[in-house]
Amino acid sequence: MVDLAFLLVTFFMLISKFAPEEVVVVDTPSSTSDIKLPESDILTISVDKDGRIFYGVEGQHTKRELIDKMGAKYNISFSEAEKAKFSNTASFGVPIASLKQLLNTPESQVKNIKQPGVPADSLNNELGDWIYQTRLSNPKVRIAIKGDNDADVPTIKKVIKTLQDKKVNRFNLITDMEAKPRI
């Protein structure tokens, strides 16, 4: 029995992947769709109930490359420490001008900062640049929109429009599970 217990311990240790800490609470709607989200290379665009847009991408290498490219594009030089911090950040929701400040905030205080969301307006569409540069860094990336139940339609449309402008016409909507009703 003890052997079995330790076997199980090992099994769970190997299989478990700790959920990264979310900076934003998103309560997704449910759907009957039974397609699972792929394991890796996911780019998540979260939209919370206040319509703030958060950007998150998996993979440390992708993130490292991404911040180099974005830094070059916006003429912001990030230090090695900031780049390392960025590659460990699950998601963020600040304009790139304040990204440096966010990366220099200690881990314990990040929760207290009110992040305004990534700008995605037609005049200042940083979200589009993030998406474009991410796809250059990792062409396999798959895009998923994680919207809150109460997210407003104009914001979601803005995100979809940005995606379409970047020629992304296939994407995923993350939802919860729901039993399929009989008709």
């Binding site: 003890v2 769970f12 709607p29 009957t32 699972k36 139940n149 997210a151």
Partner: protein, 175 residues
């Protein structure tokens, strides 16, 4: 649980002899720890991965000529309004078919019935128009409804100014 091994009970005739050590180790603490870890990992593992809906939006057409005209008889327009209401009509915005704009909800008897009633028409195209005040949940619910009723031809379209007029008209009529 943890026991203290009693050491050789008293002296036996004062004879000195190498003490025979017991080869058994008390494993209870280790097993306790093992089960503690087991419980911890079972509780912290998240097996359920999020579900996802795949959406393909149309590629932006290069010129208008390539687009095909939608026949009014094949169109069904669903306008997602505030407070979880669906304003719907058959046909296109310039000439909604009788009886004009109606209101439905997201229940099984609401929008699903409307969609199922029209399943006989294989060329039916459902136009989903989420209005400003609608919630994201409404949009997902409706896409899901398309999935449930296996209505394969649908599109998410921007709201037409004529649609807004129709909805305000319907609201004024107390629908």
């Amino acid at each position: 649980m943890a026991e203290i091994q009693e050491k050789g009970g008293g002296k036996k005739g004062g004879k000195k002899r190498a003490k025979k050590q017991s080869t058994k180790i008390d494993m209870t603490p280790m097993v306790d720890l093992g089960f503690l870890l087991l419980t911890f990992f079972i509780l912290t593992t998240t097996f359920a991965k999020p579900q996802t809906m795949e959406i393909s939006m149309p590629v932006k057409p290069k010129n208008q000529d390539e687009q095909s005209e939608l026949k009014a008889s094949n169109a069904l327009t669903l306008l997602l309004g505030e407070n979880d209401k669906i304003y719907w009509y058959a046909g296109l915005p310039d000439a909604p078919a009788a009886p004009g704009v109606q209101v439905a909800d997201y229940s099984a008897n609401g929008v699903r019935k409307i969609l199922l009633d029209r399943k006989s028409n294989p060329d039916l195209v459902v136009l989903i128009k989420p209005m400003e005040k609608a919630r994201y949940k409404n949009m997902v619910d409706l896409l899901d409804e398309m999935n449930i009723t296996e209505s394969n031809k649908y599109a998410i379209v921007d709201v037409d100014p004529r649609d807004e007029k129709l909805v305000t008209q319907a609201q004024a009529e107390g629908k």
